[in-house]
């Protein structure tokens, strides 16, 4: 072949990316070092504002990386979503504050934060997580309980005051950077100054990041960690003491969180609420970057940090939702994250004991159910107005929310924390399209159009959330739905056009139908009871229907079902739709109950409360969520009389932890264990129908596998 006939050289893929890289670097260099034309200045406010935002974003990313790296390490290896990671951050910060205050030496505070939390992490791994090994959902729930209790105890010790860890003098002050921000009228250039401390934080984050990456890819222990991520059983079989590796990793992860706490608490202050903030940030960083990947955490942190700072300046209203949008887009395009490995869906080969699975429930209408039904119907006769609405109706509403979660979690194996979002959509729909006293919207639609419409919107929302989350499994689902719920909360808070922002809507009336004011205590109670019973019956029926059985089969072995020809995704999304109907009904009742809806109704705390209620009640039978609701609402209402208002969160957290440890099936599981003991000396055999009663007792204990 002669030279003239050779094909014209084209760029390979790699060369094309390299060219893009060079052009991008050139552009960035020009942006940084050149003096901007005034048009560019006008669009981006000013060069000073833009460059500062970029620098702030990158330094903030350094901080986020420090926090998230521990989180991703722990998850990558031990498949443990540590929802107490934010609490570790805050605790480390408080320790660092105390030490640096008392000794006057900042570095000691930093060291104390790292070492202290490493010890805490070690203890947590040894005494708590080791016992729950293999049961990832339970581990996650335990971390949730720990975070609730820890947040409240820290509040008790350090109160709500803000603390500022002082920047040490050798890191204080600003440095001049060789970047021109403006030209004065006399021609001299104004150079940019930037706080030294932030640059140091960035440098430390880079050093630690590189160090971690080197440890994981080059050292022996890193090899063990990576082997454990891929196949834990094999690692154990090859003679490595897996438990020591786990302990080290958890200690390092927790220590990093504590270290980040002290460093972050010096740059920004410490106050309660920082734990939730950094937990959410870690979640988004790790989801975007990819689980278990250190470079992924770096990329994710960079994206999140830049989005946050640029959003603050250029999109002040919705900048805060930008981070969550990035997360949703990443999930849609690449569910495993940017640097994550696409894991094949692992079908459990061994039938692990997962007591949280709901079984096909007995729908026998036995005597016990009859007594309960009659008691519920006659409740208004004995209860005061307060107990009827604040305890009775309120428990039924929260029970409904928890029931919608139970449908997905118990029968579908998908723990979604976004039920409150669907309920919130229904509530806001009633506010906007019905009547309210804020002089914002309020189209006055009649209830018989409004309620079905609101419930439909809630169900569609739930289906959309399901469609986004269905590509994830197990623990990922919890994280993603939590992030979606948080995103909706922030959006509702910032958006005045539709949601009326922080104030929300008030003055929402319950309709008068057939001459009855349905918000009066007795009618409202019966309304809630009717809706709850209907949904309860529907869920029971669903569990035994073809759809429900298919859903449970998908929960148990999705691959097998796919092989048989079922459309897994469609089934799961439809399950979300049904749960959205129940959540929507709960949302309508809730907005009628409160007469108002605001972002506070759908915040992260409420989202977690639905989970707490569902777990405390028990996920194995639809009556569980309703029981759990009564239990939690009672404690909440009367805690002020028992322990004083201040520490009731600790009480709830401890109860939750006790339930998760002792009886993962919640109160139902406890009952199932106690009732055979009580049944010993009964008159069973002598009463007519005793056999039926015995069968009823046994069926609620055992699982029909």
């Amino acid at each position: 072949m002669s030279i003239v006939e050779q094909p014209a050289p084209r760029l390979t893929g790699r060369q094309a990316w390299a060219l893009v890289g060079v052009l991008a670097t050139a552009l960035v260099a020009w942006l940084l070092f050149a003096v901007w034309p005034s048009r560019l200045d006008a669009i981006l406010i000013s060069k000073k504002a833009f460059i500062n935002s970029i620098f702030n974003g990158v330094t903030l990313a350094g901080l986020y990386f420090l926090v998230a790296s521990g989180f991703t390490l722990v998850f990558g290896l031990m498949r443990n979503v540590n929802l107490a990671h934010g609490s570790l951050y805050l605790f480390g910060a408080y320790i660092g504050y105390e030490v640096s205050q008392r000794t006057g030496i900042w570095i000691l505070g930093v060291g104390a934060g790292f070492v202290g939390l490493a010890i805490v992490g070690l203890l947590m791994q040894l005494f708590i997580f080791r016992r729950l090994e293999g049961d990832e959902l339970r581990q996650t729930l335990v971390t949730l309980g720990i975070s609730i209790v820890a947040a409240d105890l820290m509040l008790a010790v350090w109160t709500g005051i803000t603390y500022q860890i002082g920047v040490p003098s050798w890191l204080d002050g600003a440095v001049k950077l060789p970047i021109i921000t403006a030209i004065r009228s006399n021609g001299t250039a104004v150079m940019m100054t930037y706080p030294l401390y932030r640059l140091v934080v960035l440098a430390v984050a880079i050093i630690i990041g590189v160090g971690l990456w080197l440890m994981i890819t080059r050292s022996r222990i890193g090899t063990m960690i990576r082997a454990g991520v891929d196949d834990r059983a094999m690692l154990s079989a090859s003679g490595v003491n897996v438990h020591i590796v786990f302990a080290i990793v958890f200690a390092v992860g927790a220590g990093l969180a504590g270290f980040a706490g002290v460093v972050g608490g010096t740059a920004l202050s410490l106050a309660p609420g920082e734990d939730v903030r950094y937990l959410l940030a870690s979640l988004v960083v790790v989801i975007v970057g990819g689980m278990g990947s250190i470079p992924g955490a770096a990329i994710g942190a960079l994206l999140v940090g830049l989005a946050e700072q640029l959003g603050l300046v250029y999109l002040p209203t919705y900048g805060i939702v930008l981070t969550f949008i990035i997360m949703v887009v990443t999930l849609a395009l690449r569910p495993q994250g940017i640097m994550g490995k696409a894991r094949p869906s692992v079908a459990p080969i061994l039938a692990l004991d997962q007591p949280n699975k709901a079984a096909v429930a007995s729908a026998q209408f036995g005597i016990a159910q009859g007594v309960l039904a009659v008691a519920l119907l006659l409740y208004p006769l004995v209860a005061s107005e307060f107990f009827l609405t604040q305890i009775g109706a309120y428990s039924l509403i929260w029970g409904l929310l928890a029931l919608s979660m139970m449908l997905l979690a118990g029968y579908g194996g998908m723990v979604s924390l976004a039920q409150i979002t669907s309920a919130g959509i229904a509530a806001y729909t009633v506010a906007i399209f019905g009547t309210n006293n804020m002089q914002v919207y309020g189209f006055g639609w009649p209830w018989w159009v409004l309620v079905p419409f609101a419930v439909l919107l809630a169900a569609i929302t739930s289906a959309i959330i399901g469609a986004i989350s269905v590509r994830t499994e197990g623990i990922y689902t919890i994280m993603i739905t939590l992030a979606i719920a948080a995103a909706f909360f922030y959006f509702a808070q910032q958006n005045y056009a539709l949601f009326n922002g922080h104030s929300g809507f008030a003055g929402i009336p319950t309709p008068h139908v057939a001459g009855i004011d349905w918000r009066a205590p007795v009618p409202f109670y019966y309304l809630c009871l009717f809706v709850a019973s209907a949904c309860y019956a529907a869920v029971l029926y669903c569990s035994r229907s073809t759809f429900g059985l298919a859903l449970q089969a998908i929960r148990d072995n999705g691959r097998r079902m796919r092989a048989v020809g079922f459309d897994i995704t469609a089934h799961k999304v439809v399950a979300y739709f049904y749960s959205g109907i129940i959540a929507g009904l709960a949302g309508v009742l809730l907005v009628w109950f409160n007469g108002r809806v605001s972002p506070g109704t759908v915040d992260v705390g409420q989202s977690i409360e639905v989970l707490v209620i569902a777990i405390i009640g028990g996920l194995r039978h639809p009556i569980g969520p309703l029981l759990g609701a009564v239990f939690v609402i009672l404690i909440q209402t009367f805690a002020i009389d028992i322990v004083g208002a201040e520490r009731f969160n600790t009480l709830i957290g401890l109860v939750f932890l006790a339930i998760v440890f002792v009886s993962p099936d919640g109160l139902l599981g406890l009952w199932a264990r106690i009732s055979p003991l009580l049944a010993q000396e009964s008159l069973h055999s002598r009463l007519p129908g005793g056999a039926a009663l015995r069968a009823l007792t046994q069926s609620t204990q055992g699982r029909m596998e």
Binding site: K48, L60, G166, A271, P316, T317, Q390, I391, G501
Partner: protein
């Protein structure tokens, strides 16, 4: 399990839960105190309780010959929890008079609840949203403390005329209380001829203001900042670190005692910052000094009473004065008590307080400026007392209402 045992258990539980609260003796009167005793704002709730209890102490814990029983209602700052807490007080504990709530949004929600219970008399705690009394007020909700816009009385004028700031930018969090404060500052400032070239609204909970500080326009004379507590400390630290040149104007909680007392280099940026609010730390008035002395004796008290202690003190004093005048008799559904309250004129540690036709307070406001005392410590020096500010800030009511509800873009004078 036999039917008998299970049923008995269930019935026993139900019975135990529905036993109504024990009937009170004839010679006590229950007064509810509703504040944020949960969560991060519990510190403020505690100070509010101190103020309320000081008022109860003043009358010797007795009113109209009856002993006072204080019942606590706890919220976490959210309107839903405030309504739940007040419901428990009214419907479960049988309270007929109460003082609260603490925060603005809670006040709006409790006002709505008050309308559903016409025989209960609710006196505000420190909630300072304008619309609680200005628009659609409840006939049984009384506010003897001023609202967030009234707290800014005098500042807009002072900034324009005395400090000479013609062009300012504002920085505040994106929700109702800062909207009200910005409104209270801007209404007189714009009227005097000032310009607010840019408004920065940051999301609630923002901790890092450095990017916003870098985006401040260079042509402004001052920055009006409405941030509280930790956010204010963060901002001031970051402002100082960024070498911010423009002087500051403070909202009612931006340069209070806790912030001035914090360690760090913020002294340089904060000296000379004017602010306004319902209290002034070094007010010379003898009644205030007596109040501060009594406050300092309480356990865990701050160095100086916060506006939460003062607000709850005044409101509780008003309620107790009213109750005394009707001999603590609310058996008529509180009608006589409410008539008495509406026409009450009080002398308080911060001056004379009376009510307008919407049952909102007309009271003095205090203009302060941050100064350094002889020891080098910072304090809020009292510049001027703005006497008897009403809810419409001195404007005729219809003109004031025409200004519209507070919001992100209202008012506007670029």
């Amino acid at each position: 399990m036999s039917l008998n045992r299970r049923a008995l258990l269930g019935l026993g539980l139900a019975a135990g839960l529905t036993i109504p609260s024990i009937a009170t003796a004839e010679d006590t009167i229950k007064i509810g105190v509703l504040a944020t005793f949960e969560g991060a704002f519990a510190v403020l709730g505690d100070d509010s309780m101190r103020g309320a209890l000081m008022a109860v102490d003043d009358v010797g814990s007795k009113v109209g010959g009856k002993k006072i029983e204080i019942l606590k209602g706890s919220s976490d700052g959210s309107p839903d929890s405030a309504v739940r807490a007040v419901r428990k007080l009214v419907e479960q504990d049988g309270v007929k008079v109460l003082v609260g709530p603490l925060s603005g949004d809670e006040g709006l929600a409790v006002k709505d609840y008050a309308k559903t219970k016409p025989d209960v008399t609710i006196v505000n705690g420190t909630s300072a949203a304008q619309d609680t009394t200005l628009r659609d007020p409840a006939p049984n909700f009384y506010r003897f403390s001023t609202d967030g816009a009234q707290w800014m009385a005098g500042l807009g004028d002072y900034s324009y005329n005395v400090k000479g700031y013609k062009k300012v930018a504002t920085l505040a969090e994106d929700y109702s209380f800062p909207y009200t404060q910005v409104f209270g500052f801007m209404a007189p400032f714009c009227k005097a001829g000032g310009h607010v070239v840019k408004k920065f609204w940051v999301p609630i909970g923002t901790k890092d203001f450095s990017s916003v500080i870098a985006a401040m326009p260079d042509s402004i004379d001052a920055i009006y900042v409405v941030l509280g507590g930790s956010d204010s400390i963060n901002f001031l630290t970051q402002y100082q670190q960024a070498g911010g040149q423009a002087p500051l104007i403070g909202g009612s909680v931006t340069v209070d005692q806790t912030i001035l007392g914090s360690k760090g280099k913020i002294h340089d940026v904060v000296i000379g910052t004017p602010s306004a609010g319902p209290i002034a730390d070094n007010n010379d008035a003898p009644a205030w000094k007596k109040f501060v002395a009594a406050y300092k004796k309480l356990p865990n008290a701050f160095p100086s009473p916060s506006l939460f202690a003062q607000g709850y003190y005044i409101n509780m004093t008003a309620l107790l004065t009213g109750l005394q005048k009707v001999n603590a008799d609310v058996s008529d559904g509180g009608t006589r008590l409410r008539t008495t309250l509406a026409s009450l004129v009080l002398e308080t540690p911060t001056g004379k307080v009376s009510l307008d036709k919407n049952r909102n307070a007309i009271a003095d406001n205090f203009l302060t400026e941050v100064a350094k005392n002889a020891d080098g410590a910072l304090y809020n020096k009292l510049i001027k007392v703005i006497p008897q500010v009403n809810q419409t800030l001195g404007m005729p009511e219809d003109e004031f209402l025409k200004l519209g509800k507070v919001g992100r873009d209202n008012p506007s004078c670029p």
